[in-house]
Amino acid sequence: MRIFLAIFLAIPLAAQTEWLTGSLDAGYRRRTGIGGSANTYRSVVDLGTGLRLLGADFTLSDPKKRSFDRLDLQAAGWGGDPWRTLHVNARKSRLYDFTGDYRNIAYFNNLPSFADPLLSRGIVLDEQAFNVHRRLGSFELALLPGHWIVPYLAFDSDADSGAGSTTFAGEGNEFPLPVTIRDSTRNYRGGTRIELRHFHATLEQGGTTYKDDQSIYSNSGIPNYGNNSKPLPGRTLYLDSLLAGWGIRGSSIYSRGLFTASAASWLDLYGQFLYSIPENMVSHQQAATGSLANPTRLIFFTGQQYLLSAESKLPHSSGSIGAEVRPFRRLRILESWLTDRLYSGALSFAQQRLTPASLPQPGSTSTSSLLVTNRNQEETLVFLELTSKLTLHGGYRYVWGDASNSVLPASGLMPTDTGKLRRNGGLGGISFRPTHKLTIGGDAEGASSGSAYFRTSLYDYQRVRGRARYQISGSLNLSANFSLLNNANPSAGSNFEYLAHQESISLAWIPAHRFWNVEGTYTRSTLRSDISYLQPQDLQPAISSYRDNAHTASALIDLRLPSYSGLIPKFSFGGSLFVSSGSRPTTYYQPLAKLFVPLGKNLAWISDWSYYGFGESLYLYEGFHASLVTTGLRFVR
């Protein structure tokens, strides 16, 4: 953060030409003590105390156009915020265009309500917690932009590192343990864009590399009694030590081809072909000691070693093509077809040894797995402009596919699961623009399925959306939205019913020559989902019901305060709230207030207060509240 500030301030203010413009916000944030659950606060908000680069957004324009014509830079959150971003764009007309993006996003999640089998025993522990950082980088360099042939190179990186908690499961018990997480994916690609007036093609070749080195190490000397407190024929199960490591190395090659063409004045064509073949090599080792058991075979052992090696491949090809035909000025026909085919095959070989050696040994096992899926879609749409203000559209969509998943040997499960997808649907919509200040639109979709993959898949469904925007005056705008999805799978044993609808309204009132303006949005959302199942313990029928009825609102009111020396301070207040009832009643309040006081032409004092209040009536121990005050300076050029 200090580097950004130093660069910005070192530039002489009395520059002859404004080759540097922009702003930089820097300050100090203080968080009050967290009331309630600090872990939930970190899982939801995670803002802390300290010096921060709150935001930077500036542009360098080289008047002599040497290395670059223009360089844009945006940054935020540096100094310790859980999300730090940096975006750079540099370009020189018709020579190069470079874009770089870097993000460091913290992911902390520790919620006992999520995974705490030991809560009834007074142990508050999320056995699936995370405290990791995800670092994302994305860089692309295009050469000769604006020419008819544009080569480009790009590199993307995604790396995850940190710690968490997990369980060592199996052997009659589950033992919560700390875990180290470390994985990364690197994507290298390059290609060429051919951009002609009536035709374009993009040809790209790329590859990825993948590494995953997750590990668990526990050797505290204190027995870990796990989640199962019941002795197994007189023996208490516990874990003394565990060393487990995953060494996964993968790579992929992929090809991508896109094209668009204005084949004639009445015909546009589009298409793409994509192919990738990622593969992974797996090496897994595990060594455990303690009082362990195999309940199925009723074998008790004091040590276990497990080695596995595996290989998997996933050839995946996709293609699509579309056309827009305009036989008449007011009539357009859109036709598209797409297919996606995926095949995942793997082999694994595992060996296990138990201690003492006199026990019957599990020996080695070989397993093969195969997952195949293909999904296809054909869609025809007709657009008719009845008048210059009214457009109707209607069409048909057919979706079909097959899928199967098998693992051999079956070991008591179904050797192969198969599914089919067959869905016929109709589409329609209307767009009405009586004046340029008022637009009303809506679309509807309905489909009936002969088969679907899963019980919760779209089956017999109707989807409706409506929207309206009205510019009441030059300063007052009103918008409204409505959406509904109704889905049902009446097949025997499922009785799945799903209904979700949202209604939203927003207002923006920004009158000229007034000292105030107002923006606000309100959304009401309702979700209802029911599905039948058999309880595993007694195979009695039961219904799983989920309900969510929520009100969400946000508003911001800006006030211009009395001016002085030609400078206008501003005060803003507002915030957002979320209140829901149903299966997981939740309240989440985020009021805020901001003050902007200019100290001169290029300097302002900025300050804001924000409050976070979270509560769940079914999980009172996870509620929290906290206030944050941030104060700093804004430098403007």
Binding site: Q128, A169, E174, L274, S276, V282, F454, F496, Y533
Partner: protein, 274 residues
């Protein structure tokens, strides 16, 4: 008669000539200065390319004598933009997009006379001007860090159109956009979890925001799993496995992923235990 019509036509053409963008800027100074900072400044006869020849309007200053794309039907105003921008990689999939189906014109999102919105916060605000229900979803406690500015709508969606449902982007050729950041879920896995491949991450997650931890579609993990693993006869649907004999009344079995941790797919265990 035909000659008279031709003479009138030629006369009308002669009456309308290109006056140059600088002439437009003498009255529309603010617009001209903002436009001069945009890439469109390099377009020859830039004002004319969207608004038509302007000599009559320059004389009369009447709005009726100049073309205003904002007042045209979306398909007509789009033709202006697409006359130059049609054959670009961003437009592959355009005709399949919800934006195209619902007559969302280019100028609904793009301000031609001014520089593009800068930064994820401004961009997200623009999307949620229409997608207010999506904005509400991001106000839920567990959400992708979009309101905080760490993620933007265009990280996952291609607003110009995509062949994928919901205008979702693709990465590494044809992977779902989720894997751009969640590369550890990409696989391939030795033992795949079918819904991840067959129907995608939205089988179990609400990607915008949820009141449920891990942005799950239900408030407790086991209820998500029971949607498929319902202990019904095996022929009912894929994944409807034989009875597992877990007693769901026991806290040990009320979160399936305590044991079945690698639920997105396992490199090691067919039951996703490790």
């Amino acid at each position: 008669m035909a000659r008279a019509v031709l003479i009138l036509f030629a006369a009308s053409l002669a009456a309308q000539t290109y006056v140059g963008s600088e002439t437009c800027g003498t009255c529309h100074e603010g617009i001209y200065q903002a436009w001069a900072k945009t890439p469109h400044r390099d377009v020859k006869q830039a004002c004319k390319s969207c608004h038509g020849t302007g000599s009559r309007h320059a004389e009369s200053t009447s709005a009726a004598d100049i073309l205003n794309p904002a007042k045209l039907p979306p398909a007509e105003s789009d033709r202006d933009c697409l006359s130059c921008h049609l054959n670009r990689p961003t437009h592959v999939g355009r005709i399949q997009s919800s934006h195209a189906h619902n007559q969302v014109a280019c100028i609904t999102c793009h301000t031609i006379h001014a520089t593009a919105v800068r930064g994820p916060n401004a961009l997200n605000r623009q999307c949620t001007t229409c997608h207010m229900d999506v904005r509400a979803e991001f106000q839920r406690p567990y959400h992708h860090r979009l309101p905080e500015g760490a993620v933007s709508c265009v990280d996952c969606h291609n607003p110009h159109g995509s062949f994928r449902p919901g205008m979702m982007r693709q990465v590494a050729a044809n992977d779902v956009t989720c894997f751009k950041c969640h590369g550890d879920k990409r696989g391939p896995f030795t033992f795949e979890h079918a819904p991840v491949r067959f129907e995608g991450c939205a089988s179990c997650h609400e990607p915008h925001g949820s009141a449920n931890p891990r942005m799950l579609t239900r408030h407790e993990v086991r209820l998500v799993c029971l949607e498929c693993h319902a202990n019904l006869p095996a022929t009912a649907a894929p994944g409807v496995v034989l009875p597992s004999f877990h007693d769901l009344r026991s806290p040990r079995y009320q979160n399936c992923t305590v044991c079945h941790q690698k639920v997105h797919g396992s490199h090691v265990d067919r039951n996703f235990l490790r």
